[in-house]
């Protein structure tokens, strides 16, 4: 749905960022390198002995929703093979990549590790191959240059192009050498010179034309056009791991260079007693220096995260005026794909993580319509949150199925279906969603494929709930206020705090954006409460005795996403070209039907 959006806002933002970043890369490197691949080879030989004795690249850690899915994706599209003894590890043309199943707070672009780079002998051919993959499976996101091309032959860089993995890591494909092989890590910096110098001073790296060499790993450094890049902590590329024979010698050197660091120490959840040092390089590049034998740390499974959320009572933050503080930027993205009713053949209490990821992806693919290009070519649809494993929204009745629908309810549903099939005589024959009027309640709260943002703003005695899609704001008074009696599309909402839960009762619907047949008689009761700092539980109880024989209740969670999400103006009606197109097509259909069929 959502033919009203002209350009999905996130697409536009991504393209603005991309343009600036690429301009800066170009300016920086234009005159510097003639033949990158040969320089690289020379660099390798010259610098290996100049770094700390035994300092070598160990791994790059990427945050992904599912390590298993990520391994498959990398093995399918890049020169990577699984490492048998390590479940989350893959070897990619000379670089070990470690996948951690964890929520990230955003992609790598915009951080100080802007992208990682792979060398291919024929980048144009490789990009064409990736373009043909389509959106099936986990898909490949392509990042086009301003001129719409997937590759560019750039002075000092050569032929290159960019893709994204499905979890937000930006990946460059660069024409170099025999390939395919890992090529370099690309740092974005406020000040390229001092960044390079830092690696030389603190870690014994060697300066190169493009940046530095650290052991056998090339770091290219370019200026970040948008000022200071974000740090890498908890982003898609979380950190770079280096292995060193003697952590103590490095610790001494770091101390002498005035660098803050932690360790050497063996973290409590390390798989063995091996030590490591953690430090932040310039612009928040997170570096992990590990001793030989390092076997990583135990992952926290999402199971445990969920159990914590359910079992431990959470004391929510309060506003300065003493009400539970629900304010912030929430999204329903992780709940996208949860069916309203429990599937009849479901036998488990919840899905596995892999099933949940697949269900959400199917939901996305079913609903993207003409947005394939946007979904593929951009970061649209990226989500830092793992898909919800909830089996169905309905929690009451306990069987997860809607109560019996009355005859009136069945007739209303049939009428609604019939209306959808007619050739529209005018706007009134189309849904209120297509017309950019409203999705109605509770539909407007439900997660969809995009623009799932939910901003909650509080002032003393009021909670405003603003949904990004169509841009609708419900102002809910939480003091005792009689209802106005005025019938409205979204009814009249009145709230109250019961403990830490906000209970909102909604009635006085105008009935014109009915929910499954429930119109003016609909009564909706919502419950909002924080399960933890980042999880807002939303329960909705639906009543209309004309439609269902008993009330029923659904539930799903919104996740907080202050770091990466912001409501973007969803000017739906203002760009509703879909209306013009649908109605002119309907008039063409009229003409077709009124003309005698050709004999």
């Amino acid at each position: 749905m959502g033919i009203c959006v002209e350009v999905p806002p996130r697409t536009k933002r991504a393209s603005i960022n991309r343009r600036k970043e690429e301009t800066s890369v170009k300016t920086k490197l234009r005159t510097k390198i003639l033949a990158r691949s040969s320089l690289m080879a020379v660099g390798l030989i010259l610098v290996a002995s100049q770094a700390f004795a035994g300092l070598s690249v160990h791994h790059i850690e990427l945050a992904v929703s599912q390590a298993e899915t990520a391994k498959k994706w990398y093995a399918m599209h890049l020169p990577c093979v699984a490492v048998a003894e390590r479940p989350g590890r893959i070897e990619c043309g000379g670089m070990q990549i470690e996948f951690v199943s964890r929520q990230s707070i955003g992609g790598s672009q915009g951080t100080s590790v802007n992208h990682i780079s792979f060398a291919y002998p024929d980048v144009v051919a490789k990009m064409q191959q990736l373009e043909e993959i389509g959106v099936g499976g986990a898909g490949v996101r392509l990042q086009r240059f301003e001129d719409g091309n997937l590759t560019r032959d750039e002075d000092g860089v050569g032929v290159h192009g960019f893709i994204f993995d499905p979890w937000g890591t930006r990946i460059e494909l660069i024409e170099a050498g025999d390939g395919p092989a890992f090529h370099h890590v690309h740092l974005a910096s406020m000040d390229t010179k001092s960044t390079a110098q830092w690696y030389v001073d603190a870690l014994g790296a060697t300066a190169t034309d493009q940046g530095v060499m650290l052991g056998d790993l090339a770091f290219h450094i370019s200026e970040n056009a948008e000022g200071r890049p974000a740090g890498t902590l908890e982003r898609a590329v979380d950190h770079i791991g280096l292995m060193a024979d003697d952590l103590n010698a490095i610790a001494t050197s770091l101390t002498n260079a005035g660098v803050d660091f932690r360790g050497p120490e063996s973290p409590a959840n390390a798989r063995d007693g091996t030590e490591r040092i953690l430090l932040a390089g310039p612009d928040g590049v997170r570096l992990e220096l590990v001793a030989p034998g390092w076997d990583g740390i135990e992952e926290v499974s999402d199971n445990r995260v969920q159990m914590t959320a359910v079992n431990e009572p959470f004391d929510p933050p309060r506003t300065p005026w003493g009400e539970p503080d629900l304010q912030g930027m929430w999204t329903g993205n992780s709940a996208h794909g949860i069916p309203l009713e429990r599937p009849k053949d479901a036998d488990a209490e919840e899905l596995t993580s892999d099933q949940a990821a697949e269900r959400r992806e199917q939901g996305t693919l079913r609903s993207i319509w003409g947005y394939e290009r946007e979904w593929r070519d951009t970061t649209l649809g990226y989500d830092r949150f793992q898909a919800s494993r909830q089996i169905a929204m309905i929690v009451d009745p306990p069987d997860g199925r809607l109560p019996e629908v009355t005859d009136v309810g069945n007739k209303a549903l049939a009428d609604a279906m019939a209306r959808r099939r007619i050739v529209a005589a005018g706007p009134e024959d189309l849904t209120t969603y297509v017309r950019c009027i409203t999705r109605g309640l509770p539909n407007m709260m439900m997660p969809g494929v995009y623009n799932n943002g939910l901003q909650i703003q509080q002032s003393p005695g009021y909670v405003a709930v603003q949904k990004e899609m169509i841009h609708e704001t419900r102002i809910i008074p939480t003091s005792a206020r009689p209802k106005s009696g005025v019938k409205q599309w979204l009814g009249s909402s009145r709230g109250r705090w019961q403990g830490d839960t906000l209970i909102v009762e909604v009635t006085d619907f105008n009935g014109r954006a009915s929910y499954r047949g429930a119109g003016e008689g609909l009564k909706l009761t919502e419950r909002y409460r924080l399960l933890d700092a980042d999880t807002l539980e939303y329960q909705f109880t639906v009543e209309d005795p004309d439609i269902w024989t008993s009330p029923w209740t659904g539930m799903f969670n919104f996740k907080r996403d202050e770091a990466q999400y912001e409501l973007v103006e969803y000017a739906c009606h203002e760009g509703n070209y879909g209306m013009t197109n649908i109605l002119s097509a309907a008039r063409a259909k009229d003409r077709e039907l009124s003309e005698p069929s050709g004999e």
Binding site: I16, P427, A464, E569
Partner: protein
Amino acid sequence: MNSARRLCLALVMVLLVGCESTTTTSDGPAIPRGWDGNPDLNGIWQTLSTANWNLESHSSYGGRSEIGVLGATPPGLGVVAGGEIPYQPWARKRQQENFQNRYTHDPEAKCYLPGIPRAHYMPYPFQVLQGDRKIMMVYGYAEANRTIHMDKENPQPAPIDSWMGRSHGRWEGDTLVVEVHGFNGEAWLDRAGNFHSWALKVEERYTLVSENVLRYEVTMNDEEVYTRPWKISLLLYRHLEDDAEILEFKCVEYSEDLLYGHLRRGATTN
């Protein structure tokens, strides 16, 4: 401009200046304050001015005769400091064309988002929700809304051009100062065709004159359209009715004939 109108404007300016001097001092009239000691702007506000018909001072004029006086514009003193908007010559011409085409071209006729500052002087109420990190304004027209970021580095670039722009706010003494930029340049400033471009940068100043009166001053800076920055100043009054609330005005359906009427079955043009 005739001399009577000039006199009116002069009087308005004297009044405006007079008000300013008494409200910007901290020992001025008692005003409500929030949890943090800043003025508390929470409430439902609305203008009594005729700014939405025409920001510049104007006599009454008629409109569509088929709806009689309902289509007429009431007279107004204007809210522009100095009386006239300092348009570049081409832009004044364009404003006059806009005026001629106002029934079909005014974004308000089409139920499009109103932009800033127009949202504040339309003849509809709006509600201020002043929280501890952001201030949200929700307008009783077209589901328009805006968030004023009080908690972000100022100014942060707008992620995308928009009708309502991107707003960053700060307190200067007892005045809420909001910088707005990142407009798409589609909005009009009133029903008289006054307009701006994408280059517009707005500085709004909200100052409580008394418990229930809020002075709203705006500096408009747009080098593409005007010869210099210019200002408007008007008053917003608090709704004191016990049952005051922002009701839905989802006006889309009232614009559909205008926008899509030619595509209806049986329309003469399709």
